[in-house]
Every structure is written in structure tokens, then in C-alpha cells.
């Protein structure tokens, strides 16, 4: 039995439990750095008149020689962040003349210490002629534009129609619509952004150290903001990143800003984000209205689907947005077998922080509405909610979805059945001893893994040049080397943000080389100047278990092939007769053996052993980019490498008198193909669930009518704690994907995506509502639902 599929202890963990784990903030990458604090807009919209210096008490020791304020005028060599939707409004690194959201950077305050930089930043008094803010999605569509140069806040509008050749007769159809607005929430990794930048005037080159997790496509965007070639922006990504969940993507304009500040002052600059900044000024999952309309036959069969989405992008289109609208595009029909599809997408600007990646990016919004619509259809048709799903999920694979996804493998009905069995669906009894109301709910989804950059072609104006460049990027690259003493190092193009990449990549390589994983060192730190990486590299979109693990296997196979050749020469046989097992290269015929890694080391010392004259010691790299991803054609996009399937179910109790919500039990059943490291798989499910439940239960980034965010600290944005997690049962089935080396698919997003829909289903059932409610399910909100107060937004 190989190492893949087992759960060895993680090599990441010893330093963690010993209090010795180094994160970006624990090291000083370059000496002599000034500390930065960002002066930010206190209002959501207005004309920036001036920045007035206030009185700041100087350090009595007179040490603060570095105090400086870098303003927009000082960084006029930078360019705003380009985006694919409009060139009329772009996000500047520092606000110029106008402010458009609370927290927008106005200037960079610099000083010798972080304390002094903060004092300086806090002493600056921005003079802003405040204007009316647009802080809501609905108002954005109809109201006046937030940027004067625009005619409308609607910056994107596209409709896609996919109609099958023979549409079913519609005489017997029942049309069911569900309209829901998913509120904003945020990822909240515990480690905050930490950026150090240096500029070398001699070479014109920037060097940056940051806990940036990708996507690396944005490296070129940062370079473009700084007006240099990508090769002149050397980025060092830290070995450990303290959580990401997507939001660390949003630091890239700040990387450019800190780098620009370093150039202005002629010294390295370090910026550490505050928690208030991470909550208000970094990014958030988009607010989205999704209206899903299904056409059903009386038998409960779904014949047509229409999805109308309006995305609140915040004050600017910050690339890669509007990716959130398109991440699921090819698979927007979810797990359901329906060919008649219309998708109408719209993106609007509001006076809120620009939206961006958040665990499950773009999918929670879709499945909340899609699954609520299915529940409603079941009620109208008097069908069991599990049964209507069984009747409509895809049954034969591969299955071509109208949006372009090819669902690769699975047994969806078996997963639904298993979830129902574990939660006790058919024996559920709503009776309680007191006045509490009990309900049960479920929801299903498909989970993508590894994005196809071709989404950009769908988002771009069809007449624009951007739409005509073919795009299908999605792969990974990995490298493996054996050094002169026989030590193995694997390089990943994915920074580790906690998922255990070092451990799992070592298992993958160990299987190919026939050695113990402990013999393999895995590097997750990335230096853009010396390591291999791709546009699609990074820690995002579930790409590890599919693309990255496959690339590691392919690179390791190249190394193994070379080792077999050298071993064959040593043992006097042919490479095809060599097995690599338990650290030995063994001649299958004679049984003679030699330690495999020593062979790799010896290649450095004696090149005569190399397989061909063109070869050298073992330093192999491999790409993994399966051919089934193509640039979109006729609006159809193969969105992702693979598609996992999931069915979650929950039982809840609601106290109608107070709105208290207790989750009695939660079941999550997945089919994510082959499982690489079962313990990490379960950890991803639990962790994703904590995110999904957090967003469902009240982790909301809300804004008042003046565009002021309500959550400014962890005292006003309450992250889910251990006492709030329900008992969870996790199970999985394995339908290997044909598109990855191991048959693995993605798992990291599933519960973060589905939990809000599951709770909506269960609460709707408990309170016997006609339609599933919309999160956040705070006590106040649940009470309003229970007593029939308030509108269901």
C-alpha cells in the first residue's frame, strides 16, 4: 500500500505545538525598514480636499528621523489596478481627489517604529467634502453612479442562453422562483497581512517579502501598477501562511503601494495590517442577489433553469473580479441534469470595500438560491425534499452541463442516500418537549477544483480585444531535486496556508520514489526570481489535490525513471526490471538491490552514470494541465479540472420566543474522488463548515446607509467559537476523477459553500415557512422570522 490515502502525522506540526513556528511577522527579511501605517478614508464617499497634518508629539529621544508621509502625488509613477470590465474607473493605489469607501487608502505614514507610524497616521486629518453614499445593492442598480465618470453603477451585464435542440413541452410546467440576497462576510484568517518592500535604484528592481498566497496571475498586475516588467518585481512568499481562505489575494494593491513607498523614501518599508483594516478595508465576499427560476414537470423533473445574478463588487472592480460571478459558470446548474439554461449576470459598484476571494468564492451565493428554489419546488409539488433531488441529479458520467462543465464522475444519489441515512431523514420527528420548533434540512452542491482562466473571456465585453485572446490556463508546476548527499526536495507552486501541503506532497513523491515521506523535504516558500511558477500558481480554488498533487507525481515519476536507469546500470539489468520499494532499487529478476536515494546523490559526483549525454543530476520539473480545459466557445466554459459532489443535512431547534437557534446535528457527505490524506480531508470539511456556519449565523460585513461598516474589530465581528460548533458527522464515497493522477478532487470549499443553504432549509422547515429564509441567522433575525416580522430580504 502506498502513502497516498494514509494519514501520517504532519511535518508542519512539531514547530506549531512547540511555539517555534515562524510566520511572516516573526522574521525581519531586511534591516533598516521604516514602518508604515495607512491613512484611510473615514467616510464612504466624497471629494478629497486635503490631508491636514495634525499635532503629533515627537519622540522625546529624537529617534524618529524617518517620519514621512507618502501621498498620491508622491507615487505618480504608479498606475491604478487594471480590470477587464471598464477602463473608465480603476482602483488607484492611493485615492486621488475622490474617496469611494470607508477605509480607502489616502496616504502612507512612515516612521522608525510601528507605534510612531500609527501616531503619525492617526494625526492626519483628511478634509473630505462628504457626498451621499450608495451602500446597497438595490440602490446601486437604480441610483446615481458613485463615480462621476460613469453613467451607471452597472459595470457589467451579460446574458447567456443555452437551449437544447429539443426543448421539452412546457404545457405541464410549474415555474418556481427563489430570490435571495447573500450578505457580505469575510474570511478572517488569523494571521494578518505582512508586507516588506525594498527598491534598488541601481537596478530599478523591487523586492518584496509577503504572506501572499496567489493567484500568481496578479503578480503581473502588481508589476503593472508599479510600471515595471514582472521580472523587476521579485516576490518572496513566506514558508508558512497563517490562513488565507482567499482574502490574502486582496493584498496585492497594497504590495504595490508599500513597494512604491519604499521607492519614494529610499528605504525598505514594512507594513503590518491591523485587524480593523482586515475587516473594513481589505476585502469581503460579495453581496449578491440571485434569482433562480426552475421549470418543473408535475413529476418533479426540472426542465429549465434561469439564474439571474447581481453582484455587488464594492467601490472598484478589483481584478480578478468579476471572477466571483464566473467561477461556477460552467457548472451553474449544480448537480442537476437540466439542459435548458439562461444565465443573466450583472455587476454593480457601491461605496463598499472591493469584493474578492473568500472560501468557496462565488458559490455560496448560488447554492443558497438554487437549493432554496429546489426546496420550494418540493413543497409546491408535495414531494420529499430529498426525493426531488434524487430525481434531478446527474446519473451518468461524464455529463456535459449546458454551461460547459463536464461533470467527471460520481454517484450522486448514493451520496444523498448516505446523508439521509446518517441524519435520520425518513424517521425525523419534529416533536419537541417544549415550545421549541424542530426542523430538518438538506442541500447539495458540486464543488469545483482548479479554475479555468477562460472565465475572463466570458466576463469581457464580447467586442473587446480581451474577449478574443484564448484562455484556458489552469495547471500547476512542481519540481523535484536530489542533492549530492541523496536528500530529496520538492518545490511546489502553491504556498501552504495550513492545508498540510508539505506532508501530502511528500506522500505523493514518496510513492513514486519508493521511499519514506520523511526522506522528502517540501518547499512551499516561493521566490518568483528563482522558483518555477505559473500564472495560475497559488493557494486558491482547491487546486492542490488536483493540479498540484498531480504535478508533484509527474515530476517524481521523471525522477524515478532516471533513478531506474542508473540503478539498472549499477545492477546490470534494464530499467524496466527495476522496482523502487522501501528505499531500495531492486532488480526484480535477481533480487539484487541498492539504496535508491544514494544513486540520486551519486549522479552529482559521477555524470558518467547519467542516462543520456544531455542529462544531469536529478532536477526534474513537470506541468500538469489536462487537455480537457479549453478557452470558452459559444459561452460554454469547462470551469474546472474536476467536480466533487456533496450533500449536507442538519437538524435544528428554534426557540420562537427568543430566536435562539441550536444545531442539533450536522451531516456532511462528500464524493471528492480519491482521498490523499484522510485526516486532512476531514479537517478541511470541519474547517469549511466553521466558515459556512459563521457566515450563516451572523459573521456579516454590514453597512449602514452612510456606507459605514458595522464590524470594525473582533468585538463587533464575532468569529465562530468552539462552543458554537454542532456535532458533525463526516462521510465520503470515492468516485475517482479521470482527470487527475490520483483521481483526487477538491474538498476545501464544500461546507463553506453549502452550510448557509442547509441551515436555510432546516430553519424554513422548523418554522414552516413558505420559502427558505436568508442568512444571517442571528437571534434577532430568527425571532423576526418566527413572529412574522420584518421583510425577508
Amino acid at each position: 500500500m502506498g502513502w497516498v490515502g494514509r494519514s501520517p502525522t504532519r511535518s508542519e506540526d512539531r514547530a506549531l505545538v512547540d511555539g517555534l513556528a515562524r510566520f511572516a511577522g516573526d522574521v525581519e527579511p531586511i534591516g533598516g525598514a521604516l514602518h508604515a501605517a495607512i491613512v484611510r478614508s473615514p467616510v464612504a464617499r466624497g471629494r478629497l480636499v486635503a490631508l491636514h497634518p495634525g499635532g503629533v508629539e515627537s519622540d522625546t529621544r529624537g529617534k524618529d528621523r524617518g517620519a514621512a508621509l507618502v501621498t498620491a502625488a508622491d507615487i505618480d509613477f504608479t498606475r491604478p489596478v487594471p480590470n477587464i470590465l471598464t477602463d473608465r474607473v480603476s482602483m488607484p493605489l492611493l485615492a486621488i481627489d475622490r474617496v469611494s469607501y470607508v477605509g480607502e487608502p489616502l496616504a502612507v505614514a512612515l516612521a522608525d517604529t510601528r507605534d510612531a507610524a500609527m501616531d503619525l497616521a492617526c494625526s492626519i486629518e483628511p478634509e473630505i467634502e462628504t457626498g451621499p453614499a450608495c451602500a446597497g445593492l438595490d440602490f446601486a442598480v437604480l441610483g446615481p453612479p458613485i463615480h462621476d465618470v460613469l453613467d451607471s453603477n452597472v459595470v457589467h451585464e451579460r446574458t447567456f442562453r443555452y437551449t437544447p435542440d429539443a426543448a421539452p413541452g412546457d404545457a405541464d410546467q410549474l415555474s418556481i422562483a427563489h430570490d435571495a440576497v447573500m450578505p457580505r462576510s469575510t474570511a478572517l484568517p488569523l494571521e494578518r497581512v505582512d508586507i516588506t518592500a525594498d527598491f534598488d535604484p541601481g537596478s530599478g528592481r523591487y523586492t518584496v517579502w509577503a504572506n501572499y498566497g496567489g493567484p500568481m496571475a496578479l503578480h503581473a498586475v502588481m508589476a503593472s501598477c508599479l510600471g515595471v516588467a514582472p521580472a523587476d518585481l521579485r516576490l518572496h512568499i513566506s514558508e508558512r501562511i497563517g490562513g488565507n481562505f482567499g482574502i490574502k489575494q486582496a493584498m496585492y494593491p497594497m504590495i504595490a503601494l508599500v513597494a512604491a513607498a519604499a521607492r519614494v523614501v529610499g528605504r525598505p518599508v514594512r507594513w503590518r495590517e491591523t485587524r480593523a483594516e482586515s475587516l473594513t478595508a481589505a476585502s469581503a465576499a460579495s453581496e449578491r442577489r440571485t434569482i433562480v427560476t426552475g421549470g418543473f414537470g408535475r413529476d418533479g423533473k426540472l426542465h429549465s433553469l434561469a439564474v439571474e445574478q447581481t453582484e455587488n463588487l464594492g467601490a472598484y472592480v478589483r481584478t480578478p473580479e468579476p471572477a466571483g460571478l464566473y467561477r461556477m459558470h460552467g457548472a451553474i446548474t449544480g448537480p442537476y441534469d437540466v439542459q435548458d439554461l439562461v444565465v443573466a449576470n450583472r455587476a454593480v459598484l457601491t461605496n463598499q470595500v472591493p469584493s474578492g476571494l473568500n472560501r468557496g468564492f462565488g458559490a455560496p451565493q448560488l447554492f443558497l438560491s438554487l437549493e432554496s428554489m429546489i426546496d420550494r419546488a418540493a413543497r409546491e409539488l408535495e414531494l420529499d425534499r430529498a426525493e426531488i433531488r434524487r430525481r434531478n441529479v446527474v446519473g451518468a458520467f461524464p455529463h456535459r452541463c449546458p454551461g460547459g462543465a463536464e461533470l467527471d464522475s460520481g454517484d450522486y444519489v448514493a451520496v444523498i442516500d448516505r446523508a439521509c441515512e446518517l441524519i435520520g431523514w425518513s424517521s425525523f420527528d419534529r416533536a419537541t418537549s417544549g415550545t421549541r420548533r424542530r426542523g430538518i434540512g438538506l442541500a447539495c452542491s458540486v464543488e469545483t477544483s482548479g479554475n479555468n482562466l477562460g472565465y475572463m473571456n466570458l466576463a469581457a465585453d464580447p467586442d473587446s480585444p480581451a474577449a478574443r485572446v484564448p484562455r484556458s490556463g489552469a495547471g500547476a508546476v512542481a519540481a523535484i531535486a536530489i542533492d549530492p548527499v541523496g536528500s530529496v526536495t520538492v518545490h511546489l507552486d502553491a504556498p501552504d496556508c495550513g492545508q498540510g501541503y508539505r506532508t501530502i506532497a511528500a506522500q505523493v513523491a514518496a510513492d513514486e520514489l519508493g521511499v519514506d515521506p520523511e526522506a522528502i523535504r517540501v518547499e512551499t516558500a516561493l521566490d518568483t526570481a528563482s522558483d518555477g511558477w505559473l500564472l495560475t500558481s497559488g493557494n486558491y480554488a482547491n487546486r492542490f489535490s488536483t493540479a498540484v498533487a498531480s504535478a508533484v507525481a509527474e515530476a517524481s515519476r521523471k525522477a524515478a525513471e532516471k533513478l531506474r536507469h542508473v540503478a539498472a546500470a549499477r545492477l546490470g539489468t534494464t530499467p524496466d526490471l527495476i522496482d523502487l520499494v522501501e528505499g531500495q532499487a531492486i532488480d526484480r529478476t535477481s533480487g539484487a538491490s541498492t539504496p535508491v536515494l544514494r544513486l540520486g546523490g551519486q549522479l552529482h559526483w559521477d555524470l558518467a552514470q547519467r542516462p543520456t549525454a544531455l542529462d544531469g543530476p536529478i532536477r526534474e520539473s513537470a506541468y500538469y494541465a489536462p487537455g480537457h480545459l479549453r478557452s470558452p466557445e459559444a459561452g460554454a466554459l469547462q470551469t474546472s479540472f474536476t467536480y466533487s459532489f456533496q450533500c449536507d443535512a442538519a437538524i435544528v431547534q428554534v426557540d420562537p420566543a427568543t430566536g435562539e437557534l441550536a444545531i442539533e446535528s450536522y451531516v456532511s457527505v462528500h464524493d471528492a474522488g480519491t482521498v490523499l490524506h484522510p485526516a486532512s480531508f476531514v479537517g478541511q470539511v470541519h474547517g469549511g463548515l466553521a466558515h459556512g456556519l459563521g457566515a450563516a449565523l451572523g459573521e456579516e460585513i454590514a453597512y449602514d446607509e452612510d456606507g459605514r461598516p458595522s464590524a470594525t474589530s473582533l468585538h463587533s465581528y464575532a468569529p465562530l467559537r468552539a462552543t458554537r460548533m454542532p456535532p458533525v458527522v463526516v462521510d465520503h464515497l470515492e468516485s475517482p476523477s479521470p482527470h487527475t493522477v490520483h483521481g483526487a478532487k477538491g474538498i476545501g470549499d464544500g461546507c463553506a459553500v453549502l452550510a448557509p443553504a442547509v441551515l436555510a432549509s432546516a430553519i424554513g422547515d422548523a418554522l414552516e415557512l413558505a420559502r427558505n429564509p436568508t442568512p444571517p441567522f442571528t437571534p434577532a433575525r430568527v425571532w423576526e422570522l418566527a413572529v412574522g416580522l420584518g421583510s425577508d430580504r
Binding site: 500609527m118 426557540d655 474589530s713 463587533s716
Partner: protein
């Protein structure tokens, strides 16, 4: 964020502390555990140019004197637990987390007078007083007058102790709370068969905790009394809850705690 600069002073005695308050007036803030004050300073939502640290003065441990428990200003919430005041014990698990209770003080929480905080709610229900020291010497402020704000601690005074009534031997207590992002409302009740008294208090009102006593000591009449008392009172509306919800929760929790306190009193009497 990082706190704005301030001067830190650690006096050697209560008298020194009083003198410092007299010297600096409202620019000074008292620091004991700092679990409310320090986060506010870090967020720069509170300003202070002088912090007077009274945390390491030689405070006495909690002590029972007759039918009361005395908790001095240096006693942490963790150290106040299990000292004999049952309603305080019932409230403490709802206060912050273990780490803030290990550092935050009972008196410090009282001094904050947060209308949604648990310790003032328990205090108004238990009854007792705080003792304050100022330039003119010491004085006592009754628990209900202190918590309601009818009688305030001045900028040049500090609370040196809180004295909590313990209740009788056949006393049942209960505390319950509903929280979202912040506290929605809490309720606490005491039913005391030994003195034939019963009282109930709820938080959530803009005016702070509201206490009612059972007419004729009949716990079954507490809810009606509370309804009458709160009929014209406004409840807090904030990002956690609208006013209507807070009122509903407070009144419902009141029913829960009265029932539970009665049950516990009966169990205690058996």
C-alpha cells in the same frame, strides 16, 4: 491599532492613587485588569493621558462578613467565583472568556457600567453596595443606586470594594443570556425560601438593568411585576438586535430564570 501614548503610573497605596486622580482629573483612567480599558485604548476609542494602575496594590482576597461577600478592587472575576455569592457565581461563566476572567476584575466591570454587562446585573439583583474613596474620604453607594447611575462615582474617586448580599440558606438562583454578535439581553432571578423573598432582574434596557421584587415574596408574581416595570422602558437598539427583539428576549428569559430559580430553591429546601 496601537494605543495612543500615555503615561503609566503605579501608585503604592490607595491614597497615592486618589492623589493622582486629583492631580490629573478626567485625563486619568484607572487600570485594574484592563480587560475593557486596554482594548478601548488600542482601538483609540477611549483616550487617556495617564493610566493609574491599581492592580498590584495590596488588595485583600474575597471575604465573607456576616451575610455579605466583600470583593475588593484587585480581585479578578476568576478569583471571585466560588466565594459564596451564588448569583455572582451564576453570572460569571457568561462574562467574557476564561482568559479575560483571569485578568478582569469584578469591580472593574462594575465601574464600566455597561448596560448589557452581566456583573452589574448580578449586583443589582444581589443587592449590596460599593465603597468609594475620594479626596473627602470614603462613602458607600447602594448597589441599585450605583448600577442605575442615580449616584455616580466621580472622576476623582475610585471604587475600593463591592459588597454583595449573599441570600439565605434556601436560596435558588438562575442566570441566562442570549447573545448574537453582542449580548441581546440577560436575566437573573433569586428565589429565597428562607427569607420568603424573590427578585428578578433583566438587562437590555437603555437605562441599564431593571430589578423587580416579588410582591409578598411570591415568585409567581415576578413576571407581572416586570411587565409593569418595563412597559414604558425603552430597550437598546443596536447592530446585534432591534429594540423589540431585545424586549421580547428579556421578558422570555425572565420566565426561564424565575422557573429555574424556583426549582433550585425547592431542591435546596428539600
Amino acid at each position: 491599532m496601537i494605543a495612543a501614548p500615555f503615561e503609566y503610573v503605579r501608585p503604592d497605596s490607595v491614597d497615592d492613587a486618589v492623589a493622582l486622580l486629583a492631580e490629573h482629573g478626567n485625563r486619568a483612567r484607572l487600570l485594574a485588569g484592563g480587560q475593557s480599558l486596554v482594548p478601548e485604548l488600542i482601538a483609540r476609542s477611549t483616550e487617556a493621558s495617564v493610566l493609574v494602575d491599581i492592580g498590584s496594590l495590596p488588595w485583600a482576597s474575597p471575604s465573607i462578613r456576616g451575610a455579605t461577600l466583600t470583593i475588593e478592587a484587585g480581585t479578578t472575576q476568576a478569583d471571585a467565583a466560588g466565594q459564596g455569592c451564588r448569583i455572582l457565581d451564576a453570572a460569571l461563566p457568561w462574562v467574557g472568556h476564561a482568559q479575560t476572567r483571569n485578568r478582569g476584575t469584578v469591580v472593574g466591570s462594575l465601574a464600566q457600567r455597561d448596560p448589557l454587562a452581566e456583573i452589574p446585573l448580578a449586583f443589582v439583583l444581589a443587592g449590596g453596595h460599593v465603597r468609594v474613596v475620594g479626596p473627602e474620604g470614603t462613602r458607600a453607594i447602594d448597589a441599585s443606586r450605583f448600577v442605575s447611575g442615580a449616584e455616580v462615582v466621580r472622576d476623582d474617586e475610585l471604587i475600593i470594594e463591592s459588597v454583595w448580599n449573599l441570600g439565605g440558606s434556601q436560596c435558588g438562583v438562575a442566570f441566562d443570556e442570549v447573545a448574537g454578535v453582542g449580548t441581546v439581553a440577560a436575566a437573573a432571578a433569586i428565589v429565597d425560601w428562607s427569607t420568603m423573598t424573590a427578585a428578578l432582574a433583566v438587562s437590555g434596557a437603555t437605562t441599564g438593568p431593571i430589578r423587580v421584587d416579588a410582591p409578598d415574596g411570591d415568585p409567581d408574581r415576578l413576571i407581572t411585576a416586570l411587565e409593569a416595570e418595563t412597559a414604558t422602558v425603552e430597550f437598546i437598539a443596536d447592530a446585534t438586535s432591534p429594540s423589540l427583539h431585545r424586549r421580547a428576549v428579556a421578558l422570555h428569559l425572565a420566565e426561564r430564570v424565575v422557573a429555574l430559580a424556583q426549582q433550585r430553591a425547592e431542591e435546596g429546601a428539600q
